[in-house]
């Protein structure tokens, strides 16, 4: 089975890879590129643990073929912090205990960052619905929602 050559940008870096046409962006990130921050919780778009951005749009990387990424820009959890500085969402998630086991955290951070870029002043309901595709089994979402809301407030104040 012949492989497909793909050129893409991941977290700002140009990356080339060969992939089987059946492989998803998630498979490529994890198994071919060693970027294991995106997690596979379901492989069917139901849990959001593999959330990445594709040309700035929030998607499940398990629902995008590696071949479809050609010429696109991908953003993963590994690209959220700038150097040694955590993104305010990352800091707030630690501070608020908005994670317990942490398996859903990369996907939730990517999704929450995408929300705040689109809507810097979301209501609690908007945060809850935006994140409805990111399953968390540990926290009951309470501290996650608070962390996102309070980060948004901090960012508004800072801007």
């Amino acid at each position: 089975m012949s492989k497909i050559h793909v050129t893409t940008k991941i977290n700002g870096d140009t990356v080339e890879f060969l992939c089987d046409p059946r492989e998803t962006v998630l498979d490529v990130l994890r198994d071919r590129l060693g970027l294991t921050g995106a997690k596979e919780g379901c492989g069917t778009g139901d849990c959001g643990a593999c959330s990445v951005t594709l040309d700035g749009r929030l998607v499940c990387s398990c629902l995008v073929l590696g071949a479809e990424a050609d010429g696109k820009e991908i953003g993963t959890v590994e690209g959220i912090a700038q150097g040694e500085d955590l993104h305010p969402l990352q800091e707030k998630f630690i501070e608020y205990a908005a994670l317990q086991c942490g398996i859903c955290t990369p996907g939730i951070l990517v999704a929450a960052k995408s929300l705040l870029e689109k809507n810097p002043d979301p209501t609690e309901e908007q945060v809850r619905y935006w994140l409805a595709g990111n399953l968390c089994r540990c926290t009951g979402y309470d501290k996650i929602i608070r962390a996102v809301m309070d980060t948004a407030a901090d960012l508004r104040e800072a801007s």
């Binding site: 959890v77 205990a97 994670l99 317990q100 086991c101 968390c136 089994r137 540990c138 926290t139 929602i145």
Partner: protein, 754 residues
């Protein structure tokens, strides 16, 4: 140091809320979970699973798979130990585990592993698995607990019923727990109102977001290593060694970060299979379950069928209580019928009580522990009946529970006398909480419930070492499933008197520390915490001894305060306090490394109780339910890291909401699981839930130096009943079957309106 039994013990570090040591890794994607390990030259494994609920395996033809380019090994049951024996009840648990991870003569449930393959890529492994041809002789199946006990039910396995089961029951009933005290019939005769009702709950899955995963390597020399997502790696070591005829010590197991377990990762599934494949291929093998495999083949909780009868006087006094609890735990013994029975009436001080639990086999996956295994279902049945009694007698549900509440000295429904417990305190806090007196909107109902869990101690080893700069490292053996590394460091900081940030707690692998039981039974903060405190005490003792030697005084004349060795008083001598770093800086020359360790099976895990308040809203046209307000009140003994304790309370409540409203294993007539994915196995999403308010009650556990009680499990005991009581109040009809899905609620409303 020692607990004086009051709430006023002054702590410097315990009770604060510093950031967890694994936080940075987990928000940056660096944390390594089960599927994140990469070993040089590793292969990928895939498992062939039965599509039938019950079938004899006539023939397995692996030739086409083996011929596929890239395939390096294929294994079946023949590649595992033949020395294990099937035995009645739980005596055969090791054989049961083998039979579950790789079927022998029969496929016992939809999803049962039949064979496995390892190949050079994940896609090749999956393709190869499809080429393995299995010939089945389909047998009659049963998946329902009541049907599995009926006379005409197919027998899952002969000869596994143990001594405890009364004669004349179906062979699928394999264990029985029967217990009580007083005279329940006399008690019912004293009651002004007796209610007896039937309840059912469906099987639910722990729903951890990280599928079971491992990387394993095993050579023909009998030496192996496993990296896996588990709640207990010594158990993985012990069980895998037995399943593969290895010496336990030759297998080294490292626990990865664990992406949720909730009891579901207390056993093995893919680990022995990966080892068998690795031995055959002579290369490391990675195995990661798909989500569908997780649902079909790992352990959900048991489903239940329950009858509960309670008598009450007009003043709210419970005169007698009786329950029969039937649990279906899949095709193996092990459904926690004894826990269901023992927890059922534990919150109440009863003169007359009797409980019976049955462990029943059916053609479903082998059940696994799920957060307070067995207790939530019992609470659902019992607390629903109490709620109905309160309704019919016009009594306040919290007052009635206070009137009957167990307290220190009560003879528990399951036998022993309670030591100091905090049930009354949770009820009083709940009653005083603004939630309890807040007005309800039209269409809403309020429910309350109590819940109980034993908590557990278990075999524990901890080791601690000082560094020359005065910082400390702790090695514990209980995988961190909720922030426990932070709690361990806090307790060590408290004893050593050094800042939290100078202590690093690591989950040691099986080669680096003595045996540790699984992270289960809410035991980690209690048992590993106790061992950390004892280890730190040993270090403090040694630090004092070194200071005494330096000062040339008696070791007894040195005290440890806030990180310093000090003379115990003027009589001991006049010396400048010695800071910990001053002592450790020269420890190599003053007697050698300063370490502490502790190993024991602590038995003072304090039982714990919770009271939950729930407001729910029901759309009577559609049966849709929304939980609009939720308050958890629970006794933590002592909250070491209060924010993480809140997290446990909130998580348990959220899982309870899912169980109560929408989660269920749905089997078709064909015995196949219909909803093996997060699309139709409906765990709560962010937009389903309200904020979950928490109240931490602290009634210290006399069995722990700082008063800790486990907190992880009790939080899932009250929700099913509290939500059912709220929904029943809102809908105006008693809901007796979980989940209370919209079709069920609408059907109940229709039945009521005739």
């Amino acid at each position: 140091m020692a607990l004086d039994g009051t709430k006023d013990t002054a702590f410097k570090y315990v009770g604060t809320t510093p950031e967890r040591p694994d936080g940075f890794d987990k928000v940056t994607g660096r944390a390594r979970f089960g599927a994140d390990m990469i070993a040089p030259g590793m292969l990928f494994g895939s498992i062939v699973r039965s599509p039938h609920a019950h079938a004899r395996i006539v023939k397995i033809d692996t030739s086409k798979a083996e011929a596929l380019d890239g395939v390096k090994a294929v294994v079946t049951r023949a590649d595992f130990s033949s020395a294990l024996e099937c035995k009645p009840g739980m005596d055969g648990e090791i054989w049961n585990t083998l039979e579950n991870v790789m079927a022998g003569e029969k496929a016992l449930y939809d999803g049962h592993a039949i064979a496995a393959v390892a190949a050079t890529s994940n896609l090749i492994a999956r393709d190869a698995a499809k080429l393995i041809e299995v010939e089945y002789e389909i047998l009659p199946h049963v998946t329902d607990v009541d049907l599995a006990m009926a006379d005409d039910a197919p027998v899952i396995r002969e000869g596994v019923t143990d001594y405890s089961v009364p004669k004349g029951m179906h062979p699928n009933v394999v264990r029985c727990h029967d217990q009580g005290h007083g005279d329940v019939e006399a008690g019912f005769a004293e009651a002004d109102l007796v209610i007896e009702d039937h309840f059912t709950t469906e099987a639910t899955h722990q729903g951890y977001i990280e599928p079971n995963a491992c990387v394993a390597t095993l050579g023909a020399d009998g030496k192996g290593e496993v990296w896996c997502s588990t709640q207990g790696h010594w158990n993985v070591q012990k069980v895998c060694a037995a399943l593969l005829d290895l010496e336990t010590s030759q297998l080294r197991v490292t626990a990865s970060e664990i992406g949720g377990g909730f009891g579901g990762k207390t056993t093995v599934f893919v680990e022995p299979v990966a080892l068998a494949l690795s031995r055959k291929a002579n290369k490391p093998v990675k195995m990661v379950m798909t989500r569908a495999e997780v649902f079909r083949a790992t352990g959900p909780t048991a489903s239940t069928s329950m009858d509960v009868k309670i008598g009450m006087k007009k003043d709210g006094t419970i005169t007698a209580a009786k329950g029969v609890f039937r649990l279906q735990g899949g095709a193996f013994p092990g459904a926690p019928c004894e826990f269901t029975a023992m927890c059922a009436f534990a919150p109440y001080n009863l003169a007359n009580v009797h409980q019976t639990g049955y462990d029943v086999m059916s053609n479903r996956p082998k059940q696994a522990a799920y957060r307070a295994p067995g207790s939530p279902m019992a609470a659902f049945a019992v607390e629903s009946v109490i709620d109905e009694l309160c309704n019919q007698l016009g009594l306040d549900p919290i007052d009635v529970r206070l009137k009957n509440a167990s307290h220190e000295g009560t003879r528990a429904s399951y036998g022993p006398k309670f030591e100091r417990i905090g049930l009354v305190e949770t009820l009083e806090e709940a009653k005083a909480h603004p939630h309890y007196s807040a007005p309800l909107a039209e269409g809403q109902g309020r429910g309350v419930s109590c819940g109980f869990w034993f908590n557990h101690g278990g075999e524990t080893s901890v080791s601690m070492a000082m560094s020359e700069d005065g910082s400390a490292q702790i090695m514990v053996g209980t995988p961190d499933i909720g922030g426990s590394r932070a709690s361990m460091a806090l307790m060590a900081a408290e004893v050593l008197g050094i800042p939290y940030d100078t202590i690093r707690c690591t989950i040691a692998d099986t080669a680096s520390l003595g045996y540790n039981e699984i992270s289960h039974g809410s035991r980690v903060t209690y048992a590993s915490g106790l061992a950390v405190i004892k280890s730190a005490n040993a270090i403090v003792k040694e630090l004092c001894r070194r200071a005494a030697a330096k000062w040339d005084i008696d070791a007894d004349a040195v005290i440890w305060e806030d990180g310093y060795a000090k003379p115990s008083g003027p009589n001991a001598g006049d010396f400048e306090p010695l800071h910990i770093a001053e002592i450790t800086a020269t420890m190599g020359a003053t007697g050698g490394p300063i370490n502490g360790h502790f190993e024991a099976t602590p038995e003072g895990a304090g039982v714990s109780f919770a009271t939950h308040i729930v407001d729910a809203e029901v759309d009577k046209e559609t049966g849709a339910t929304k939980v609009v307000r939720y308050t958890v009140v629970q006794d933590a003994g002592k909250a070491i890291h209060p924010t993480y304790v809140e997290g446990q309370y909130q998580g348990g409540a959220a899982q309870g909401i899912g169980w109560a409203l929408n989660e269920e294993y749905i089997y078709g007539e064909d015995g196949r699981l219909q909803n093996a994915g997060f699309l139709d196995y409906r765990i709560p999403v962010a937009s389903d839930l309200p904020m979950i308010d928490t109240v931490i009650v602290e009634v210290p556990n006399p069995g722990h130096p700082f008063g800790v009680r486990g907190v992880g499990e009790t939080s899932i005991c009250p929700p099913l009943a509290a939500i059912a009581n709220a929904v029943s109040a809102a809908a105006g009809v008693r809901m007796r079957n979980l989940p209370m899905s919209p079709p069920r609620i609408l059907a109940a409303l229709d039945a009521k309106s005739g």
